[in-house]
């Protein structure tokens, strides 16, 4: 028998999509039965109370959670989000209900062995409720009490070889698309770079020294499957410099509608869009119109290709990314609070990805940016806002990168150019009396 009546939530058990309500109810029952004989370290009925508190929110149309206060594990400035219920009498099981952010493995592959370790720990020391995964990428262990935080951390580090993720004014847990592990489009090994930098910057991840949060995300190609361009202060997106590799035979297979060569790898199979038409579907949609198909031969004018991925996506068996691969770095993406949302702005059009020298070329840029931001960033000012405030030029200056037309979508429309004194012959100090000799008052 459920502890709380949940008429509102019960409605959310209907319909085909997996019901979180059904899952929570099943979990409440599992805990109530406790067939495994777990020595629950937090209230056994916490999931019942979680359902109860959410039901109350459904009744009121308002949340019943309060501010966290500062809870965490010793020496770390992040990884835990404190949370308390504002009706603890009604729902004592969730009076304290902090979450722990556990740094997910790159690419989000798991062995079941490891997952079972995690679930066992979380049944024991937490609510047994998780997010797989949080929006930043972490494994979110949702709901435990303050005394359990260090215990969970101990088990994670000592027994699982696993650290917490980020929160607070830290480097946040970096995340990547699966990249070369299972994608033919990936221009570099996203997981290798993500893993390396996560380890390289453990101190930045755990000990708040930044003006605000800072996010890294790694996309293997411009399709942006981890949405790095929209939600990371530094976004690393794979690209290439040379020609798209064309297999002309395979192109013609597409043109001939060979069933083993479905357009866009079959992504549009669910509707009859008519037979494949290379002109309509590829050439005409190429944003730069840099392709030609003549005499059964496809040519691409590389000088004008912007590597948007469209043609490759449509004909993956025929077109392959170039061989001279690397990545672009874009800076400053963030959600709208406070000054409006930003996409990442292109800072580095192309840099090689070289694991052999520990990605030197990349870490240098990161560290130059951090130095500047830590020096100049105001409290709660994201990198994107600092760039807006001090100007894109400043970002170029601190990273030692030369201005290139690639940096802009279009040059400035206003002529309000700030010159530096040393750029202007004669400088700014002038003698007004000398001037007045030629220009009477």
């Amino acid at each position: 028998m459920a502890k709380h009546e949940t008429p509102f939530l019960d409605e959310l058990e209907n319909g085909p999509w997996p019901s979180f309500v059904s899952d929570l109810k099943q979990q409440a029952e599992v805990r109530a039965k406790n067939e495994k004989g777990v020595e629950f370290q937090i209230p056994q009925d916490c999931v019942d109370d979680l359902l109860g508190v959410v039901e109350l929110s459904y009744k009121h149309g308002r949340t019943h959670w309060k501010h966290g206060g500062i809870v965490g594990v010793f020496g770390y400035g992040g990884g835990v989000i404190g949370r308390y219920c504002d009706q603890p009498k009604l729902f004592p099981g969730v009076e304290h209900f902090h979450t722990m952010r556990v740094n997910q493995p790159c690419g989000k592959y798991y062995s079941t062995e490891y997952l079972r370790q995690l679930t066992e720990l979380w049944d024991f020391r937490g609510s047994g409720v998780t997010n797989m995964h949080g929006a930043t990428g972490d494994i979110i262990l949702l709901g435990t009490t303050t005394p359990q935080l260090e215990e969970v951390f101990w088990t994670l580090t000592h027994d699982f070889g696993q650290d917490l993720g980020g929160s607070g004014s830290n480097l946040r847990t970096p995340a990547d698309c699966l990249g070369q592990s299972r994608c033919e489009y990936s221009c570099y090994d996203t997981s290798a770079l993500c893993h390396f930098l996560t380890n390289e910057y453990q101190d930045e991840l755990h000990r708040p020294a930044f003006p605000y949060k800072f996010k890294f995300k790694f996309d293997g190609c411009p399709n942006c499957c981890v949405a790095s361009i929209a939600r990371s202060d530094m976004s690393f997106i794979g690209t290439w410099k040379d020609d798209i590799r064309i297999d002309q035979d395979a192109v013609n297979k597409y043109v001939e509608k060979d069933p083993a060569y479905p357009a866009n790898a079959g992504a549009h199979k669910g509707r009859d869009w008519g037979p494949f038409d290379i002109k309509k579907e590829v050439l005409d949609l190429c944003p730069t119109h840099c392709m030609k198909f003549e005499n059964k031969k496809l040519t691409i004018n590389t000088e004008h290709c912007t590597r948007c991925m469209h043609c490759i996506n449509v004909m993956p068996r025929a077109l392959k990314i170039g061989k001279e691969t690397g990545l672009s770095i874009l800076c400053g993406a963030k959600a709208p609070i406070l000054d409006g949302a930003q996409m990442g702005s292109l800072l580095v059009p192309f840099v090689e990805v070289n694991a052999d020298n520990d990605y030197e070329a990349i870490t240098e840029i990161i560290e130059n940016i951090w130095d500047w931001w830590m020096e100049e960033g105001k409290n709660r000012e994201r990198l994107g806002e600092l760039i807006m405030r001090q100007g894109f030029q400043k970002l170029l200056e601190v990273t030692g990168i030369e201005a290139q037309p690639q940096h802009v979508a279009y040059p400035r429309t206003n002529p309000y150019i700030f010159w530096k004194e040393d750029e202007v012959p004669g400088g700014w100090e002038r003698d007004v009396d000398e001037y007045r000799k030629h220009h009477l008052r």
């Binding site: 409605e11 209907n14 319909g15 085909p16 999509w17 997996p18 979180f20 309500v21 059904s22 899952d23 929570l24 979990q27 370290q41 999931v47 508190v53 959410v54 459904y58 149309g61 949340t63 019943h64 959670w65 501010h67 020496g75 770390y76 493995p105 790159c106 592959y109 798991y110 062995s111 079941t112 997952l115 409720v129 997010n131 929006a135 949702l142 260090e150 951390f153 101990w154 580090t157 070889g161 696993q162 847990t173 592990s181 299972r182 893993h195 996560t198 453990q202 399709n223 361009i229 929209a230 479905p262 866009n264 992504a267 199979k269 669910g270 509707r271 993956p316 068996r317 959600a335 949302a341």
Partner: protein, 382 residues
């Protein structure tokens, strides 16, 4: 329930402490076929909704079955995932960047048994545990946030709005009949913990009332200068207040007309709650994207200024979403994302095609770049 210690000694926190070890090494979690072919994949195909094959240069194949994930997930559910992965996938599984679950097998004949197993599993309430789909030109899982399950600032629930929406769009999760990918995201407050600001369709929780002021406690619980500084519109200023009992306390005053209900003050100061049954609700945005394919990434636009919180299934919201998806599905060209379609036909036609009202709320008036969104041409459609 007795406290069981790991060995951690609060008096000596540094004793035997292990820190800064980072995440698990991903190499440990690769299924063999992935480990063997990494960086050497030739191409892929989506065989049917939710089922992909990737072919290596070596000729190796990996078949992936993708299923919908309710990312708010119990350990029981995760254990069930593990059971399946153990049974079919040699003990490996992965999660996608949009919280779907991927089961991978290394030969074609393992696909059907896996699919059948997945499809057979239902929750007690009747919903699917592991619906197959989420690939190609369709709807995939909604990335979302905490909502009333865990956060202190939401203006709506996350899991509930998502469930209602995914039920509505379920057919398109299991089919690939849309003009292109359609990505729906959800964030329960303006902080926008999902990438809601650039999704094809975004559901956003929104407050519409300035904070209440708990004058009696404010100075005790909050740092007034931090609360004042938190406000992006400078609506808050320190002020003395006289309580009902006559005592004078230090507190703050809010210029309501300047407030945009962002909740920044509340994040800094618990004595300034904003949540309100009638004030809170949903904003719908549309037309954003993040991929660079064909067109540049772009922000979502606000297309419905407000819908009330209609618990538990938000029918006005799902109706509006359905209208948008239908109009898009009928109107767009193959490969055309929702935002590209809206731009091609013109936003004025978007509103008529989707049968949505245009109201003054949808005209930008935030900061100077608002100007860029007004129409500076005579080129418009009647």
């Amino acid at each position: 329930m007795a406290f069981i210690s790991t060995g951690y000694n609060p008096a000596k926190p540094m004793e035997n402490r292990i820190t800064d070890i980072g995440p698990k090494d991903y190499h440990d979690f690769y299924p063999p076929v992935i480990a063997n072919n990494k960086g050497k994949w030739s191409h892929h195909e989506i065989l049917e909704p939710g089922v992909l094959v990737h072919v290596g240069d070596s000729g190796d194949e990996v078949y992936t079955v993708r299923v919908g994930g309710c990312r708010l997930m119990s350990t029981s559910h995760i254990n069930e995932i593990c059971d399946i992965a153990d049974k079919h996938c040699d003990g490996y599984v992965r999660f996608t960047t949009r919280n779907n679950i991927e089961f991978m097998v290394d030969s074609k004949d393992k696909v059907e048994p896996l699919k059948n197993d997945l499809a057979s599993r239902k929750f007690a309430g009747g919903s699917n545990k592991f619906p197959i789909g989420g690939t190609g030109a369709g709807v995939t899982n909604i990335v979302h946030t905490q909502g009333w399950i865990h956060c202190h600032t939401p203006a709506t629930d996350a899991s509930g709005t998502v469930k209602a929406t995914m039920d509505t769009l379920f057919d398109d999760f299991q089919q690939m009949r849309l003009p292109a990918q359609l990505r729906v995201s959800m964030a329960c407050c303006l902080n926008m913990c999902g990438a809601v600001h650039c999704s094809d369709i975004a559901i956003l929780g929104y407050h519409r009332k300035p904070p209440m002021l708990d004058h009696e406690y404010l100075d005790k619980v909050c740092e007034i200068p931090l609360a004042v500084a938190a406000c992006p519109t400078a609506a808050i200023k320190p002020s003395k207040q006289t309580l009902a009992n006559g005592t004078e306390v230090k507190s703050v005053e809010v210029k309501n007309e300047r407030c945009m209900y962002c909740g920044n003050c509340y994040t800094m100061c618990p004595s300034m709650p904003l949540a309100d049954t009638e004030g809170d609700g949903i904003v719908l945005m549309a037309g954003g994207k993040v991929s660079n394919r064909i067109s540049d990434p772009k922000f979502s636009k606000v297309v419905v200024a407000f819908l009330p919180n209609e618990m538990p299934r938000w029918p006005s919201m799902t109706d509006a979403i359905k209208k948008i998806v239908n109009a898009y599905s009928n109107g767009a060209n193959k490969y055309e994302r929702l935002g590209d379609w809206a731009e091609r036909i013109g936003w004025e036609k978007f509103f008529s095609a989707c049968e949505l009202d245009f109201t003054h709320h949808l005209i930008d008036d935030f900061r100077q770049q608002a100007y860029m969104s007004w129409r500076q041409t005579t080129n418009f459609k009647f």
